[in-house]
């Protein structure tokens, strides 16, 4: 067992990246994730790496693309409006199929939103890839600082294995909360050699690599290859967590910080004799459709909880195929109308009781 230290989710992401062997970070400050870059600006130069504060998220994403082309493990992080600015670059990276990691610590939108306070309003943009054209990105949603630390390492691994941009979709509450985190380097196994990297042909025995960034020739072939890759990910990389679902007759479905609130609601409900359970997707793309449907069919009733007007709920609806009724408890359930309002477990439990 590794050393345990008390750190925030954001610092866990930064430390997790270093544990994964990432030495290069490019980012632009935006609340609530600026401390990821702040931490790495101190650490990376000490390990012969580099931190660059870019002039915009548009530049960050292309530094990430250029860095990925170098063959090294590279990362950027952002939030909300900054994430939107990265869309074009995510699409280019996906076309080029170069591995890299993007962290989005969600804030409340739309527009400037609450100026960087909590919310889960980048879900739809993240799970559909964020940019133009047809492509997919793996999206991992942590619900604790420990999971931030572990999932960012998994993100680098999956990214290398599938040559795909992998996102860690955290949120303000997860990023800013501190918990004990076990510092451990996770060995997921070997990854393919990056013999395609642009490092100058001299280092590759004269072989030349050209990255033209898209389906220049063989359009159906390119897209078929992409589709097969995405299907392989859907078949092999679905991850989720369940809590008290075995005998549950009412299922809460949630992710990220909202799932923690639901976790509390399950415990409160159980003390009152209510058989509540929680289903929490960890990969939100690929979404655990089949597993969720099975759990929901067993429980018979579903309440989706998320801190938005309803984005995650669309994926739940898709998964349930109309076979199980579901309801949504969203941002309107916060306890205050100001930016600091949150959805309390008591409010979730009250909603459950109203539906029973």
């Amino acid at each position: 067992m590794g050393e345990k230290i008390l750190i925030t989710g954001n610092e866990a992401i930064a430390r997790g990246a270093v544990a994964a062997g990432c030495k290069y970070f490019f980012g632009y400050p935006i609340t609530p994730q600026s401390d990821i870059g702040e931490y790495l600006s101190g650490v990376l130069p000490q390990i012969d790496g580099a931190f660059i504060q870019s002039e915009s998220e548009s530049a960050s994403i292309y530094m990430l693309y250029g860095g990925a082309l170098s063959g090294e493990r590279v990362m950027t992080s952002t939030s909300g409006c900054g994430f939107a600015l990265m869309g074009e670059g995510i699409s280019y990276i996906s076309a080029a199929e170069v591995p890299c990691v993007l962290v989005d610590v969600m804030r409340m939108g739309p527009g400037i939103g609450t100026g960087g306070q909590h919310g889960q309003t980048d879900y739809r943009l993240a799970t559909t890839g964020g940019g133009h054209g047809g492509y997919r990105c793996i999206v991992l949603a942590p619900a604790s600082p420990q999971e931030c630390f572990d999932l960012v390492q998994l993100a680098f691994y999956l990214s290398d294995i599938y040559r795909i941009l992998t996102m860690v979709l955290s949120d303000f509450i997860i990023g800013r909360m501190a918990e004990p985190v076990e510092i451990r380097t996770i060995d997921f196994g070997p990854v393919p050699e990056k013999d395609w990297a642009l490092v100058g042909k001299g280092k590759k025995g004269g072989r030349i690599d050209r990255q033209l960034g898209g389906p220049v020739m063989g359009v159906p072939e390119f897209h078929t290859h992409q589709r097969e890759k995405y299907q392989k990910i859907v078949d092999n990389e679905v991850r989720y967590e369940t809590y008290q679902v075995d005998d549950a007759d009412f299922l809460l479905v949630s992710y990220g910080s909202s799932a923690r609130i639901c976790h509390g609601a399950v415990d409160m409900g159980r003390t009152e004799g209510l058989k509540l359970g929680l289903f929490r997707p960890i990969t939100v793309w690929p979404f655990p459709k089949k597993e969720l449907r099975e759990a929901a069919l067993r429980a018979g009733k579903v309440l989706v909880v998320e801190d938005s007007i309803g984005e995650f709920v669309d994926d739940v609806e898709f998964a349930l195929l109309g076979q199980v009724p579901f309801h949504l408890l969203g941002v309107w359930a916060r306890h205050l109308s100001g930016g600091s309002g949150i959805i309390h477990p008591e409010r979730v439990l009250a909603e459950v009781k109203g539906l029973l």
Binding site: G66, G67, E72, G200, K201, K203, I208, R210, L212
Partner: protein, 253 residues
């Protein structure tokens, strides 16, 4: 002179790939590609050079060189080059960007790379118009120039003034070399080649950013013959865009 006494004085550079130049007849890009090939070969840096094209006609440039290369999204080559260079400082990274790519959509990206003093080299292709999209106005289009989006000629009240990038680059502290050249005559070819070599040398020596702006013909978007293009460069382009070195320093303090 007998056949056996003949000496080969001109051949395709070894760095040129087998791909034919796809640019339009009368376009000067093929000449500029040759200048780059010759300089990279003469400096002996082909084993560690990475060439980046932009969006527009320069998107195709990676296929013309026997080099590690990439085509970059519109205007973002300096950001990609920054990461490649910082991660592998022993590489020589060159961006080749048109006037829309660098001067319009990517001006902020370019200026910030200069501002950071990146050790990069940029070849800026100024043909006063958007070639690939069919002849629209560029930031470098001349006042009065007729384009598909300035049908009455470029009017500064509506579309602003021609952008002088070589002069702009020269005022940036992180820039070691900035020059404007043309390659439309043999004499200018020699001067242009020397400028590109100096701009590469600044990167090799780790001094700072090297920048060379080429004035270049675009017969289709100018709606001119090849001969008319030469005349347009001589009489109009040179009047707006003076040739010369705007900065050449061996040290940035």
């Amino acid at each position: 002179m007998s056949a056996e006494n003949k000496v080969k004085v001109y051949e395709t550079p070894k760095l040129r790939s087998f791909m034919p130049i796809v640019h339009c007849p009368g376009c000067h890009y093929g000449i500029i590609i040759r200048i780059l090939c010759e300089n990279i070969e003469e400096l002996g840096i082909e084993d560690r050079t990475i060439l980046l094209g932009g969006v527009g006609c320069s998107y195709t440039w990676p296929i013309f060189f026997n080099l590690d290369a990439a085509s970059c999204p519109h205007g973002r080559a300096p950001a990609m080059a920054t990461a490649l260079k910082r991660i592998h400082p022993d590489t020589i990274v060159i961006t080749c960007q048109g006037d829309g790519d660098l001067g319009a959509i990517g001006l902020g990206c370019f200026m910030n790379a200069l501002s950071r003093g990146e050790k990069l080299t940029t070849i800026f292709l100024n043909n006063a118009g958007y070639g690939q999209t069919g002849g629209q106005m560029a930031p470098t289009s001349l006042l009065g120039q007729v384009t598909t989006t300035t049908p009455g000629g470029r009017d500064p009240e509506i579309s602003g003034y021609p952008l002088h990038v070589a002069e702009l680059a020269a005022v940036m502290k992180g820039v070691a070399y900035s020059a404007r050249v043309t390659a439309h005559t043999p004499a200018n070819f020699g001067r242009a080649k020397k400028a590109v070599k100096l701009a590469l040398q600044k990167q090799l020596d780790g001094v700072g950013y090297g920048f060379v702006e080429f004035l270049s013909a675009c017969p289709p978007s100018w709606r001119m013959s090849t001969d008319e293009c030469w005349e347009f460069i001589d009489k109009k382009m040179l009047a707006e865009y003076p040739l010369g070195e705007f900065k050449n320093v061996d040290r940035i303090d």
